[in-house]
């Protein structure tokens, strides 16, 4: 029987994970060089463009070692972003080892650390791989030193490669076979299969990606999802090659898929355990967690008659993204729409972008917010993910907001700037460590709301791109919060209100007013933009009326040009929303969360 190795590649963004995966696929001959397109595993346009992996994917690579022994190497590709850390943890739980990829020029980054800890938590064999050794800026010795000191791994084991050039790939494959232990688990025990991802296929329904820990599953078996106790009859099992490849059975140790008439991916839960209806496992595999959204925002169609089409788009989108939650919502300013919950800001952006691109929706997304908790004077406790429902301030006895522990890794010279940024963002309980010379890791407890408020961009700016960032959710902590209203020509615009930290409210209000001033085009009348808390105006800006909009000459040759300009303006106007008498562009609703100095 073939031997099996289950492994994943973990890396900081841009360290070459997808390229290495591609080279391994090529090296094992699964795909002819001429059929090759870059980043095979990132199948979505958005993944290719952004260079990120959103969904977990698996592929089974055939491998024959020097002595002619055959292996099935199951590579499980994991999402590379903190928003999807639970998905990553389930993918890692399906492996016995990981390749920890480090860019020879960039060195160890915050996400490398986070990934390492995740792999350690699952007690995986960790093989350090130093990539991009072909770069002129590559510093292999320094990277080795970091692997030794920052990560505490044996740098002598580190494999040198250049995924781009294709050098060192054989060593990587050999290491996978030699160092990663084969899977344990008996085929004779009751079935335990861990769901690490699910994809929607319009013809087959949900394709569940899973790792079999024990037992066997065949077509025709009745399976049970242990979390929700739903039963399904298995139609097909198989392994992932470039396409799905049906098999007669999936057995302990293997990674593959199950198709069983599950309608949508939301009917499955990542991390759930599949067992057999007859002879069920006594207990599910550990580590299951119901993922909860942490960032919330509303989406509305730009044109109110496109609401139906948005409903359909969301329902279709949801087939393939169990993490997105949404419910009907309505706004006085924007009409009917949906309140949505996301795993993080990246998830939010992906949802927005895919709805616009793949489902051709023209959307307005309001500025994202976190979930707040309030203790009321009557003893009730309310949780709010939409600032519109901020309770009457007179009834609030205590307010709470979610905190994270932020880990930031930077070259030492940026420490002052990063400290300043974190303190400004209400960071507390700072801790430092100097994993290696010249580098520093800073940890802060910080409100999640501050991360949403343009933190990534700010961090990038103050560290000139050298800062890397990762976070874990901590808990809810008491806070002093107020609701900031935005008024356009004296009318409150519900879709623009925010819950903010009281002490920084004035600055936030001023920033929002200034951003809106930049976003809202001039009208034929003056527009007053005001920020208010309760009845008190705390910030103001004005969009002046335009007094003249006419060209002097309009003769034979000017008419076409003039009309084309008008057509362009009309098109732009379609992307705007009338709020009272003011035309507000789509981008304004999210712009209020952009901080000023660009």
């Amino acid at each position: 029987m073939k031997q099996i190795r289950n492994f994943s590649i973990i890396a900081h963004i841009d360290h070459g994970k997808s390229t290495l995966a591609d080279r391994m696929i090529q090296a094992t001959g699964l795909v002819e060089t001429r059929d090759f397109r870059d980043q095979l595993l990132d199948t979505m346009d958005i993944e290719r463009e952004r260079g990120i992996t959103i969904k977990s994917q698996a592929i089974t690579l055939p491998y024959v070692d020097g002595e002619g022994r055959e292996y099935a190497l199951n590579l499980i590709d994991t999402p590379g972003h903190v928003d999807f850390s639970y998905e990553v943890s389930r993918a890692l739980a399906s492996c016995e080892g990981v390749l920890l990829l480090v860019d020879a020029a960039q060195g160890v980054e915050a996400q490398t650390m986070a990934n390492l800890f995740a792999a350690m938590e699952h007690d995986l064999e960790i093989i350090p791989v130093i990539n991009k050794i072909d770069l002129i800026s590559a510093d292999i010795e320094r990277t080795k030193e970091q692997i030794e000191l920052d990560l505490g791994l044996d740098s002598d084991l580190a494999i040198l490669c250049s995924a781009k050039e294709g050098t060192g790939i054989d060593h990587v494959l050999e290491a996978v076979v030699d160092l990663i232990p084969p899977p344990a688990g008996s085929e004779e025990d009751p079935l335990k299969a861990l769901i690490f991802d699910a994809h929607y296929d319009p013809f087959r329904g949900t394709i569940v990606s899973c790792r079999i820990f024990s037992g066997r599953v065949h077509p025709g078996d009745t399976i049970r999802l242990m979390h929700n106790n739903a039963r399904y009859r298995v139609e097909e099992v198989g392994v992932f090659r470039l396409e799905r490849e049906p098999r007669k059975v999936l057995s302990a140790g293997e990674v593959g898929y199950i198709i069983s008439g599950i309608k949508t991916v939301s009917d499955t839960r990542i991390g759930d355990t599949i067992t057999l209806e007859k002879n069920p496992a006594p207990a599910p595999l550990p580590g299951f967690k119901e993922v909860k959204p942490v960032v919330f925002a509303s989406i509305y169609p730009v044109a109110s008659d496109e609401y139906r089409s948005l409903v359909e788009a969301l329902e279709k989108y949801k087939l393939n993204d169990a993490a997105l939650i949404f419910q009907k919502d309505s706004s006085a300013a924007l009409g009917l729409g949906f309140r949505c919950g996301f795993l993080g800001l990246l998830h939010l952006e992906i949802v927005q972008e895919r709805l616009e691109r793949e489902f051709d929706q023209s959307l307005i997304m309001t500025s994202p917010t976190v979930q707040y908790r309030f203790e009321l004077t009557n003893g009730d406790e309310v949780t709010i993910d939409n600032p519109v429902y901020y309770p009457d301030p007179a009834t609030i006895s205590k307010a709470f907001e979610p905190y994270i522990r932020a880990s930031i890794m930077i070259p030492e010279r940026y420490m002052g700037a990063v400290m300043e940024l974190c303190l400004e963002r209400r960071g507390t309980h700072s801790q430092f460590s100097y994993p290696s010379t010249g580098r520093i890791e800073i940890q802060f407890d910080m409100p999640l709301a501050e991360v949403i408020y343009d933190f990534y961009d700010k961090l990038k700016t103050v560290t000139q791109g050298y800062g890397s960032f990762d976070y874990d959710l901590l808990d809810y902590r008491e806070s002093d919060l107020v609701k900031l209203d935005i008024l356009l020509n004296g009318e409150k615009v519900d879709a623009l209100c925010q819950i903010v930290f009281k002490e920084g409210a004035r600055a936030r209000a001023l920033n929002a007013c200034n951003r809106l001033k930049e976003e809202i085009p001039r009208h034929m009348f003056k527009i007053a933009i005001q920020g208010a808390i309760g009845g008190t105006i705390i910030a103001r800006s004005t969009v002046n009326a335009f007094r003249k909009d006419v060209t002097a000459k309009c003769y034979g040759g000017d008419i076409t040009r003039k009309r084309k300009l008008l057509e362009k303006q009309k098109k732009g106007k379609k992307r705007m929303k009338m709020v009272g008498s003011v035309t507000v562009p789509q981008s304004a609703f999210i712009a209020i969360l952009r901080s000023d100095d660009k």
Binding site: M524, F546, R547, K548, D549, V550, T551, A552, K553, C554, Y555, G556, G557, I559, T560, K562, R563, L566, E567, Q569, K570, K573
Partner: protein, 338 residues
Amino acid sequence: MDGWFDGLKREVLYHKDLFGRFDSLYLGGGTPTFLSEKMLEKVMASLLDHFHLMPDAEITIEANPCDITRHKADALKALGFNRINLGVQSFNDNILKVLGRRHSAVDAENAVGHLRSAGFKNIGLDLIYGLKTQSMKEWIATLRSALSFQPEHLSCYQLTLEKGTVFDRRSHKNDMITLPEKTAAAHFLATSSFLENKGYIHYEVSNFARNERLESRHNRKYWNHTPYLGLGPSAHSFDGKKRWWNVRSVKKYRAALEKGRSPIEGWETLTTEQRHLESLALGFRTRKGVGPESLDAASEKALAMFQKQGLLKIINGSAVPTRRGYLLADHLPLCFST
């Protein structure tokens, strides 16, 4: 220069039998008075040989003050021109210098004198205003100088900078040359009211006529979708549905025609929506306004609002811009078309 004429002669042949009688002819685009009398004669001859003009046709030539001697004025009259558009720009030498003009105020005054002496009864003066260095007082002085010649027509172009013009290249910041918007608007309104008080009709954003008959018959065609034929490099034509335009470069223009090819560079056929949008865009620039056929039920709200704001008046079912409405003529169409 001759290359251009060779091309023109060929282009004329292209279109010669396709049209009925023309009631206007406009020789312009640059300053054709720069051409020698002999050349102008040839141009007119080639046109009149193949196209038919009505007896009372409006025949205009664009003239540069430098080019107008008494002799030239007589020659133009003899060639059949009955309307002159004189590029005076200003009666202030400092302003003329800023504008980079070759002529002086005195040249302009002399030119008008020669044209009057030659018997021209329909003279239009082109003026430019709205420069940052030009005070309202100075501008009114130029207008007064212009009025002293009792011109039948005045075009007052407020300097607006479009990309790629000389002014745009000279400074990156437009506002170094043009007035701030608020002042520009005030100057525009003052110009209109000054000239209307003197008896002129403000019949288009930049155009004034001493009476209705003296409004430019030719230019009005551009504004109400009347067909027109344009000849020469970069000329635009319109047949009621389709618009087309010639290549810009004289060299390419000539080369195409020499090889027996059309010098047309591009064309478009107006869709119903495009035509509607143009009717709005052009209509709000003129005293005729936008006719009821272009105002649907959905326009009611915008109409009422703009009437209330004093930007439009309803006259015989047409939406007619007020003086302040002219100032926003490029914006109004956006509020009317869906």
